[in-house]
């Protein structure tokens, strides 16, 4: 057979897909896919992460440049006269991605997730009811044109109520909304949600092991059993001797010890070139499970008995942050309780991206998803490439394996490319 045209003269506007008719793509079959794998630059417009194989490229190019970007909403709505269920399903097709909401204190994360699901369903079900459907029935009747009475079947379109919303109920009854890193009831701050295809991205974000920012408020002079202000009082102490200097010293000590732990849990042999490059870029962090690690801590405001800390950490729970405040109090030879834990950043989502209670509706959420999509994609690509550069050993429990680490590193980085 003649040489596949895709080798010699690839379609100019590929990969948007509107030039090459789908039939050609399918009939070319495996030759076509091969062409992508072997000569990616001639066929693709921009480079994709090397880990994906040809089939994945093909899929992504048909549907969008990256996994998170989808055709804009306006394309769906440009056809006039879309029925309400079509509008709903068009909006549902857009509802794929990650967004962040601001969880107020006192609200359980599950209630927030349920509220968001209900609001999205309300938005999807809203709209004018569709025009009544018709069904075709073959009705028996005499043909008036003929002289003698003759029976014949005429196909007539008869209105039917089978698909009426009052008979079937609302078109959308449930929606899967997933939650990222959870916040407990007393904490507040940025809470990331995923809908539709975005739920897969949540797993990717989790595996990227990005850091989170918190502001933590503490109160000197008390100690309670659950480290919160309203817990059972255990101890009361004086705090006159506490100065800003002492606090800063303690925080620096904490940061130093956690820095050491960071390096240890990231399982990098610091003597390798890759590790040096990563350290230069500031990327050393554990890419698997580890205890809470603080990558940065500093005091923003100190007015005894209150103080405000900014903590940058990973693999934490809010309870551990409150315990941290308690321990800082102990180090300062006094006691402290935590009055507020507020997350200001979760990965790429900051306070500006977080939606307030008045914005928990379909329209704002769709906007938020669209706005956040490119940043999320960029971050995921970066962490994916980071993960490929350095293959991690399973856990630090077997330090004797670090001998073989560098050789393993050298081997696996070849396979990745």
């Amino acid at each position: 057979m003649q040489d596949s045209p895709h080798f010699t003269s690839p379609p100019k506007r590929f990969p948007t897909g509107d030039v090459t008719p789908p039939a050609l793509l399918f009939t070319a079959g495996p030759y076509f896919l091969l062409s992508i794998t072997f000569s990616p630059r001639t066929v693709r417009k921009e480079p994709l992460p090397a880990a994906e194989h040809g089939g994945a490229h093909y899929k992504y190019h048909i549907w969008g440049r990256d996994r998170t970007a989808l055709p804009s909403r306006s394309q769906f709505f440009c056809e006039a006269g879309l029925r309400a269920s079509d509008m709903g399903s068009a909006r549902l097709a857009q509802l794929n991605g990650l967004f962040a909401a601001y969880k107020p204190p006192g609200l359980k994360w599950k209630h927030l997730r349920d509220t968001i699901e209900l609001q999205l369903l309300k938005g999807l079900n809203a709209g004018k009811p569709p025009a009544p459907e018709q069904r075709v029935r073959f009705l028996l009747g005499p043909l008036e044109s003929s002289e003698k009475k003759e029976l014949t079947l005429t196909a007539t379109s008869v209105p039917t109520l089978r698909k009426h919303p009052l008979v079937c109920g609302p078109a959308f009854t449930s929606l899967k909304v997933a939650v990222g890193h959870r916040l407990d009831a007393q904490a507040s701050g940025v809470l990331v949600f995923g809908v539709g295809q975005g739920r897969r991205l949540l797993t990717d974000m989790y595996n990227a092991h990005l850091t989170k920012d918190y502001t933590v408020r503490g109160l000197l002079g008390k100690a309670t059993d659950d480290f919160c202000e309203d817990g059972r009082l255990v101890e009361k102490t004086t705090y006159d001797h506490v100065t800003r200097e002492k606090l800063d010293r303690i925080l620096a000590m904490i940061q130093g010890s956690h820095q050491k732990a960071l390096v240890m849990y990231s399982n990098l042999d610091l003597k390798t070139q890759e590790a040096y490059e990563m350290a230069v870029r500031g990327l050393i962090r554990p890419m698997n499970k580890s205890p809470m690690l603080i990558t940065g801590i500093r005091c923003l405001h100190f007015a005894p008995p209150e103080f405000l800390l900014e903590v940058q950490c990973m693999h934490e729970t809010q309870k551990q942050l409150r315990k941290l405040v308690h321990e800082i109090g102990l180090e300062l030879k006094t006691t402290a309780v935590c009055t507020q834990v507020r997350r200001t950043r979760d990965g790429v989502f900051t306070l500006d991206d977080a939606l307030l209670r008045t914005q928990w509706d379909l329209h704002s959420i769709l906007d938020a998803i669209e706005a956040a999509a490119p940043r999320v994609a960029a971050e995921l690509e970066k962490s994916l490439s980071l993960g490929l550069d350095t293959q991690q050993l399973p856990s630090p429990r077997w330090p004797w394996d670090s001998e073989g680490l560098s050789s393993a590193l050298g081997l696996e980085s070849d396979v990745g490319h």
Partner: protein, 417 residues
Amino acid sequence: MALSAQQIPRWFNSIKLSSFINATQLTKHCTRPGKTLLHGFSAQPQMSSDNCFLQWGFKTYRTSSLWNSSQSTNLSSQENNSAQSTLLPSMNEQSQKTQKIPSFDSELSLEGLDDLPPLSPLQPVSEEEAIQIVADPPLPLSSFTLRHYVDHSETLQKLVLLGVDLSKIEKHPEAANLLLRLDFEKDIKQILLFLKDLGIEDNHLGTFLSKNYAIFSEDLEDLKTRVAYLRSKNFSKADIAQMVRNAPFLLNFSVERLDNRLGFFQKELELSVKKTRDLVVRLPRLLTGSLEPVKENMKVYRLELGFKHNEIQHMITRIPKMLTANKRKLTETFDYLHNVMNIPHHIIVKFPQVFNTRLFKVKERHLFLTYLRRAQYDPAKPNYIALDKLVSIPDEIFCEEIAKASVQDFEKFLKTL
């Protein structure tokens, strides 16, 4: 439609097994329910050939008469009747009165079960007979949803066009069965006319019936007695209409029960007759709901929150919903108002609508005002902020007039909580 005038039936033929269909029989009146038995029976696997419809009909006739007598409870009987009556389900059509199954049985038995010769499947069939073979899929004998039956039941269609939400009613199987069995002209129309006389508008009938479908099983005389009782207690016609609209189940309660409830509220609240009447008209679900929460709430107000009896009376005449409010939310709101915002009892009594708002709203606005140092709730001092202004106005107006800040500032503040 060409057939609208004549309502040519196509179902009548094959029970007349003694003769072939000829043109004269087309003009016979339509209430021959025989054909629909084919629907129920075509599920039989051996009845697959279309050609021997006569024999098929014969067989179905034989066994279906047994089937009919045995299946007395399910809705197939109504379905058969109503299926014939709704060939063309347009509302303007005169619905054909269908014969009841007993007469159908008698008619069948008169047809002469005995003198039918067995028919061969290889018998040739004329073109006219072939046209008249009805091969519609049969109606399911039992279903979890009403949408399979809505096209064949005039009652259901008229209800949908009135605005009744069948998708809610089908969740209660006994209600759905009741509606299918009822006849629109005889039973439902009476009740609808009664409701219209009562003063319920047409566009409200749908929502009313969606909630209170059980009214169709009530006796019309009983309903009239209850309305007469309410009139005797000096409720005006408009009042009664409003009560029935807001509490759809009101007329399902017997006169004794209504009397007991009214007596309870009069005794418990010790209000004048006129005020009790106003209270009940504003919140008619006091009469239909349980009395235990009301008793609990009265005790909470008196003992736990410490209001005097005349204060409770004043608050309840202003906001009747307080009688049925959630006890936990009441105590939480009062705790915040009295202990955190330091508002005394006599000011809370003046503005009982604070108990009707969500607690987070009160908290957020109070904290914002505290941050701006404008939180002053004492009428004696300058810059006093009334509680109703605090809770009952929308965000934009609150920010502009009370807090003298912009909505963006309020949102930024909310993200620091």
